[in-house]
C-alpha cells in the first residue's frame, strides 16, 4: 500500500465554473457584481423605513390602523421575492463532462462528414421540430453542449441558463426558468408598494395642509419619499406591464429582443398555448423546477496532508473539524474516518 492522503470535504459549489459568487456554504448563488443589488435594497428598505417612521403614525391615528399593517405585509412580500430572485439558481445548465463533450464532438464530426482542408467547418446547429416549427439549437463552445430550446449563455455569469430571460443587475442575478416567477412577483409587488406609499404620502400631505392650524411638521422626508416613488413608478410599473405582456404570450425578454417570433420570417412561437390564461398559469403557477447544479453535494478532493498530525490551531472556534475520508494512490478505496477535535480554552 502506498502513501495515504487525507481529503477534506469540498462541496461542489466551490468547483463550479462560471462567474457566480456563493454564500452560506452554497445555499446562496448570485452574480459577481452586486453593487446595484445593494442599491435596490437600500432604496426599498430606506423608503419604507421613512414611510413607517414619519407617515404611518399620523395615518394610523387619523385614518386607519390597517394602513401600516398592509404596508408592512406588502414590504415583507417584496423583500421575500427580491431575496428569492437574487439568491436562487436561475436554471443554470451544468457544463458537459469531458466524456459527454467528446461524444457530442464525435457526433458532430460524423454529421459534418469530410471538410476539405482550409475550409471552415459548418456552424454547429441542430434543427428540431417543435409544434410544427423548426427551432435551431446552437452549440455553446464554453459549456460544450447544444443549448436546449430557450436556453441562452449569459456572458456576465458565464453560464448557460435555461429559459434565459435577461441578466438583471438590480437583483444581482440572471432571471431564468427557476426564478422568473419570483422576479415577476417582485416587480408586481414593488409596483403596488410604490403606488401605495406614493398615494398615502400625497394623502398625508393633503391632510396636513387641510389642518392648517396644526403644528408645521417637517415634510422633508415625505418629499424625499414622493421623489423616489415617482421615479420608481415609471420604471417598475412599466417593467411589470412589459413582463405581463411577455407572460401572456409565453415569451422571454431575450426572444423579444432578438425578434425570434416577431413574424419577420413567419416563425410563430411554438411554446405558446395560444391562450393567455393558460400561458400565465404555466409561467406563474407551473411546477417549481429543481436546481440541477447540486451546489451542496460533497466532492472528493485529494490534498497532501498527513493523517496523524497534531498541529495546534490558532482558531478560536469550538466547532469540530469536519470528518475527512482517506484515499490511497492505488485505486483502493479505504473508508477511514479521522476525527480531529479542537478544543479551545478561553483566554482571559
Amino acid at each position: 500500500m502506498s502513501a495515504v492522503m487525507i481529503t477534506r470535504k469540498v462541496r461542489k459549489w466551490e468547483k463550479l465554473p462560471g462567474k457566480n459568487t456563493f454564500c452560506c456554504d452554497g445555499r446562496v448563488m448570485m452574480a459577481r457584481q452586486k453593487g446595484v443589488f445593494y442599491l435596490t435594497l437600500f432604496l426599498i428598505v430606506g423608503t419604507c423605513a421613512l414611510f413607517f417612521a414619519f407617515e404611518c403614525p399620523y395615518l394610523a391615528v387619523h385614518l386607519s390602523p390597517t394602513i401600516p399593517v398592509f404596508a408592512a405585509l406588502l414590504f415583507l412580500f417584496v423583500m421575500a421575492m427580491l431575496l428569492r430572485t437574487s439568491f436562487s439558481d436561475p436554471g443554470v445548465l451544468p457544463r458537459a463532462l469531458p466524456e459527454e463533450a467528446t461524444f457530442i464532438e464525435m457526433e458532430i464530426e460524423a454529421a459534418n462528414g469530410n471538410v476539405p482542408a482550409g475550409q471552415r467547418p459548418p456552424p454547429r446547429i441542430r434543427n428540431v421540430q417543435i409544434n410544427n416549427q423548426i427551432v435551431k439549437l446552437k452549440y455553446c463552445y464554453t459549456c460544450k453542449i447544444f443549448r436546449p430550446p430557450r436556453a441562452s449563455h449569459c456572458s456576465i455569469c458565464d453560464n448557460c441558463v435555461d429559459r434565459f430571460d435577461h441578466h438583471c443587475p438590480w437583483v444581482g442575478n440572471c432571471v431564468g426558468k427557476r426564478n422568473y416567477r419570483y422576479f415577476y412577483l417582485f416587480t408586481l409587488s414593488l409596483s403596488l408598494l410604490t403606488i401605495y406609499i406614493f398615494t398615502f404620502d400625497i394623502v398625508h400631505v393633503v391632510m396636513r395642509k387641510y389642518q392648517l392650524s396644526n403644528q408645521r411638521e417637517q415634510t422633508g422626508f415625505t418629499v424625499l419619499e414622493v421623489l423616489v416613488c415617482f421615479f420608481t413608478l415609471w420604471s417598475v410599473v412599466g417593467l411589470t406591464g412589459f413582463h405581463t405582456y411577455l407572460i401572456s404570450l409565453n415569451q422571454t425578454t431575450n426572444e423579444d429582443i432578438k425578434g425570434s417570433w416577431s413574424g419577420k420570417n413567419r416563425v410563430q412561437n411554438p411554446y405558446s398555448h395560444k391562450n393567455i390564461l393558460k400561458n400565465c398559469c404555466e409561467v406563474l403557477c407551473g411546477p417549481t423546477y429543481p436546481s440541477v447544479l447540486d451546489r451542496r453535494g460533497v466532492m472528493q478532493e485529494d490534498s497532501p496532508v498527513s493523517a496523524a498530525s497534531a498541529a495546534p490551531s490558532s482558531s478560536s472556534s469550538t466547532n469540530p473539524v469536519p470528518q475527512t475520508t482517506v484515499r490511497t494512490h492505488t485505486h483502493i478505496n479505504l473508508n477511514i474516518k479521522s476525527r480531529a477535535i479542537t478544543e479551545g480554552v478561553g483566554e482571559k
Binding site: 421575500a80 466524456e99 417543435i130 411546477p287
Partner: protein, 155 residues
Amino acid sequence: MYFVSRKCAVVRIYQVRLQDLQQPAVSSKVFIQRDYSSGTICKFQTKFPSELESRIDKQQFEETIQTLNNLYAEAEKLGGKSYLEGCLACLTAYTIFLCMETHYEKVLKKIARYIKDQNEKIYAPRGLLLTDPIERGLRVVEITIFEDRSIGSGR
C-alpha cells in the same frame, strides 16, 4: 492570556475485500439525448443506440426510457394540483417550501428509486450502469458500458 487547542486524530482502517480490488473497467459511455419534439418538457429519445445492441434488448431499453419519460411528464404536468401548489406557495411568499417538498422533488426521488431498481435488476447483470439524468443537468441519460469480464474479451 493564552489560547490552547488540542487536536487528536483517531484513525480506523477497515479490511479491504479482494473482490473490491477488481473493479470492472469502463469500456465506453453512451449518452441518450433529449427529445425536444414536444417542447421544453423533459423527455429522452427512445432511439436504441447501436453500442448497446450486444448487451440488452431493444424493447427493454425502450421500456426503461419510456417509463422515465412518463415519470418526468408526471413531474412537469400542468394541472389542478400544480396550480394549487403554486397558488398556495405564492400566498405564503414561498416560505412553505422551507418545510414542504415540491411535487417535482417527490417525483425526482421516485425516479432515483426507479433507476436504482433498474440498475440492480436489469442493467448491472449485463455490465451496464444507468446514471440518473439529474446528475447530468437533465441533459442526457448516461449509460456506462463496462468491459465484459464474464465472456473474457472486452469491447
